[in-house]
């Protein structure tokens, strides 16, 4: 039997079916091993799909053999392939490293359930990415959200509960808005399949429900994606979550929502709705700029390491939205590229934080003095990923910054103003990363008597792997760049 044709389905099925199996693996360590194998398998599937897409074969899959408008369709093109790589890569890397940190934070008997929720979260996220159907996107969005509520609340810190409650309320509002929008479109077009929707929406564009639907869907997804000012759930949720969960979610969760936002908007609305281009730009551009500047400024004064990095994520989401709001090929390319590069940088940073947290229970900057002497490898990895976040040449972050600035310069008369925003926020990134560096390297140790020790090897190796990938993709960004460029061609084709 040839499995290749079934890869899009397997991408979801493998983590989803592994989730209940993992619950049964009670003996010590087995649950972790099972979950990791499942995550690695789904990463391998994503790689295989990417190779197929790079060969010029977008994968379309009809569930149960029912053809597209009637049956459930899955589809993988360049954009989905890139986001699949990010999601499964983040899932695999974080699970691979997770064991020492999770052993420390989650009681032994709850671990199988915890890993099972993790796999469900992964399955939900990849499900969103491969779905070619608006309603299934909602279903998978709910699966991934419910799983991430469990994951975030699973930590030992009781402060996680109010954080997750806030996230739950906001996330539910976002999902409901999305569902209302999809319902309105279904009412007008009678279809849920995205491609079909795109074909039929042309007949009803002048109807008010479509406009309302566009508004509901955009705002609902912006909430899920933590676009400024709808981001208030994010810093607390990421700060209070177990450290490894933060790695996983920070690297990919909001990006999947952005993926749906960009895809839905360009695929369904851009070509058909009159003036939608200008409306989308007018909605997204100011929010992106505000998000970049305000969140960076807040991060500059944040005292807790995890919350600082979480706040910086809001600014980085602003970069992704900024690129998309240019409604140009170069802008989309930059935006998609930043989805990939930011996942690398922020994933690596949170991995390093997990390493630090293995010894430091209090992650406030003024408590981390002398960490560089005790954990030199951890701190060096954190430095490399920090450079990538700033956009120092030679790291992945520089590539997306270069593309973004080039796109801004092309984007018209206010291009120079946008360049100024990008550069100013890069300098703010220098400030908040350097506050971490000075704390780790130059502040005197607080507790003088504890012994110097590195993080466990398992955690450290994965951290360094991600740190090195930041450099590799800074010097040889070939594959993600090709995927980003074909995504841009694909989506911009719909827009024009």
């Amino acid at each position: 039997m040839d499995l290749t044709a079934h890869l899009p389905a397997l991408q979801v099925v493998v983590p989803m079916l592994s989730a209940p199996l993992v619950v049964l693996l009670q003996p010590r360590g087995l649950a972790w091993a099972g979950a990791t194998v499942a995550a690695l398998a789904s990463f391998a599937i994503a790689l295989a799909l990417t190779i197929a897409v790079l060969d010029g074969q977008p994968q379309v899959y009809a569930m149960g053999g029912w053809p597209a408008p009637y049956g459930i369709a899955l589809g993988v093109d360049a954009f989905s392939a890139l986001v699949l790589l990010v999601v499964t890569g983040a899932g695999a890397a974080s699970l691979l490293a997770a064991r020492p940190s999770i052993d420390q934070q989650i009681e032994q008997e709850r671990q199988p359930l915890f890993y099972s929720a993790w796999l469900l979260g992964l399955a939900g996220l990849v499900g969103i990415v491969v779905s070619a159907d608006a309603f299934n996107i909602f279903v998978f969005m709910e699966i991934s959200s419910l799983a991430s509520y469990i994951l975030i609340a699973g930590g030992p810190d009781r402060r996680a509960l109010p954080a997750v409650f806030k996230y739950l309320i906001m996330g539910t509002i976002g999902a409901t808005f999305y569902l209302i929008g999809v319902g309105l479109i279904y009412m007008m077009t009678g279809t849920l399949n995205l491609a079909d929707m795109e074909a039929r929406i042309g007949d009803v564009v002048d109807m008010n429900p479509i406009l309302v639907a566009a508004g509901f869907i955009t705002i609902g997804l912006a909430l899920k994606a933590a676009v400024f000012p709808l981001h208030v759930w994010l810093p607390n949720a990421y700060t209070q979550a177990p450290h490894m969960v933060t790695v996983f979610l920070a690297a990919c969760a909001t990006k999947v929502a952005l993926y749906v936002l960009i895809r839905f908007d360009y695929l369904v609305f851009q070509a058909k709705l009159a003036d939608h281009e200008a409306q989308f730009a007018l909605f997204a551009l100011p929010l992106a700029i505000l998000g970049i500047l305000v969140a960076s400024a807040v991060a500059m004064f944040e005292g807790n390491l995890k919350r600082l990095l979480a706040t910086s994520s809001v600014a980085q989401i602003g970069y992704i939205l900024l690129g998309a709001s240019f409604v140009s090929q170069a802008g989309l390319s930059a935006s998609v590229m930043h989805i990939f590069n930011h996942a690398l940088a922020k994933g690596g940073l949170f991995l390093a934080v997990a390493c630090l947290a293995y010894h430091y229970r209090d992650l406030r900057l003024d408590q981390l003095g002398g960490a560089a002497a005790r954990m030199p490898w951890t701190c060096a990895a954190l430095l490399v990923c920090g450079f990538s976040l700033i956009g120092i040449p030679g790291t992945a972050g520089f590539i997306s910054k270069w593309l973004l600035i080039s796109a801004a310069l092309e984007s018209g008369p206010w291009g120079w103003g946008l360049v100024a925003v990008i550069l100013v926020s890069s300098l703010m990134a220098v400030v908040y990363i350097w506050r971490i560096v000075e704390a780790l390297y130059f502040r005197a140790a607080v507790e003088g008597d504890s012994l110097p020790a590195e993080a466990p090897l398992q955690l450290l190796l994965v951290t360094w792997l991600v740190a090195l990938l930041n450099i590799v993709f800074g010097l040889f960004p070939g594959v993600p760049l090709e995927l980003a460029n074909s995504t841009a061609t694909l989506l911009a084709g719909f827009a024009s």
């Binding site: 040449p393 600035i405 550069l423 890069s426 300098l427 220098v430 800074g474 010097l475 960004p477």
Partner: protein
Amino acid sequence: MTPETAILVALILPLAGALAIALAGRVSPNLRETVTLVTAAALIWVVWGLLPTLMAGGRPAVEISQVMPGLTIAFKVEPLGMLFAALASGLWIINSVYSIGYMRGNKEQNQTRFYTCFALALSATMGVAFAGNLFTLFLFYELLTLSTYPLVAHKGDPATVRSARVYLGVLLSTSIGLFLPAIIWTYMVAGTGDFTPGGILAGKLDDPAIGLLLGLFVFGIGKAAVMPVHRWLPAAMVAPTPVSALLHAVAVVKAGVFAITKIIVYVFGIDFLFDAPSSGWLLYMAAFTIIAASLIALRQTNIKRLLAYSTIAQLSYVVMAAAILKPLAEVGAAIHIVAHAFGKITLFFAAGAIYVASKKTELHQLRGIGRRMPWTTAAFSIGALSMIGVPPTAGFVSKWYILAGAFEADNLVAVFTIIASTALNAAYFLPILYLAWFERENSGAPEHGEAPLAAVLALCVTALLTLAFFLFNGPVIELESQVVRGIT
């Protein structure tokens, strides 16, 4: 070894050296210092091995990778870069000998980190020197900033960390805020960033924009310390003196003026820029920096801060020479990079030797020090005379060429600036020499002799180089004349 391989080896060798130094540091300090010296010697052998090829007109080039279409990491050796690389690698070994004397004499902490970062900084310097396009230049320029940060912050106390913050803040914010957009703009306008004789912008950019782009480059390259982005250089003086000597008198600051010269010659093109009135401001800005920095130097009481402001002024000599936009002046700019390097490294070495031997850091403490430290004081005097431009020192040669270029361009502003700054240089260096040689020491001063032998040896060698360059500068001038060959 083919020249192409030599380029790569020159980059990798200090990097490998840094790794070896870090490992050797765990074994013994002697082994670590041996590794440093061996790496430095090997680097000289590799870099200077490229000289015959360059003299014969060869331009070895090598491309590492294509990051994005049109954006490559590529290296190409041309006379300016060759001179800079030869200078930095040649002085590294002398500086390493000096460092051994200085660091041990001072019983400094974290010496392994010091030597490791030094080797890293040299690798970045080689990258800057051999960069074949703007992107590669930018890559290594930033690496140079980051690898020298730990050296500046070496001491680690709050005051030092604050100064290091100024250092990093100014250099990173100018490079990200101004240099990077200038580079991206150039790539968008010209479609390439390759350093090409004659420039790549001719006919692609109009007048007011030319001056603006030039401004983004000049102030974006903060390492050149053209006012008002000079504040990081005095701040960097908190570093141990060998760092100030090699990095903040030679490698780092020269990377700045070298980059500006290279961009003027190979990105804009001299003729193109000469015909653009909007680029004229650069000369005035450089002239202002020369005079203003000299005036500030007059008022300094700390030896290293005085030398820092003198460096700011001397760096703008190079920028001003490049901005005269005449062949002779471009040659003068290149030679001044060398001439100033010899003189200024000698001055810093002497200041450091005085600190090691006596812990003296202020000018007024130098009263009568010529009797206690005759070798050091003699070397200091030679360095100071070279700054003023008195024959027979290196400083005279470059000043001669810059003046000749200024006359060729009928540029009276440049001529006047050179004369005025010579007078100012004399005004702040000669009193020090008088104080050191002819005044009597205060009674009851603590006893001390010369600094450790390694330090004294190093500063004598650089003082001799300062004198020797006056007599034997033929090959350098011949090499640099290639840069402007065919331009009238």
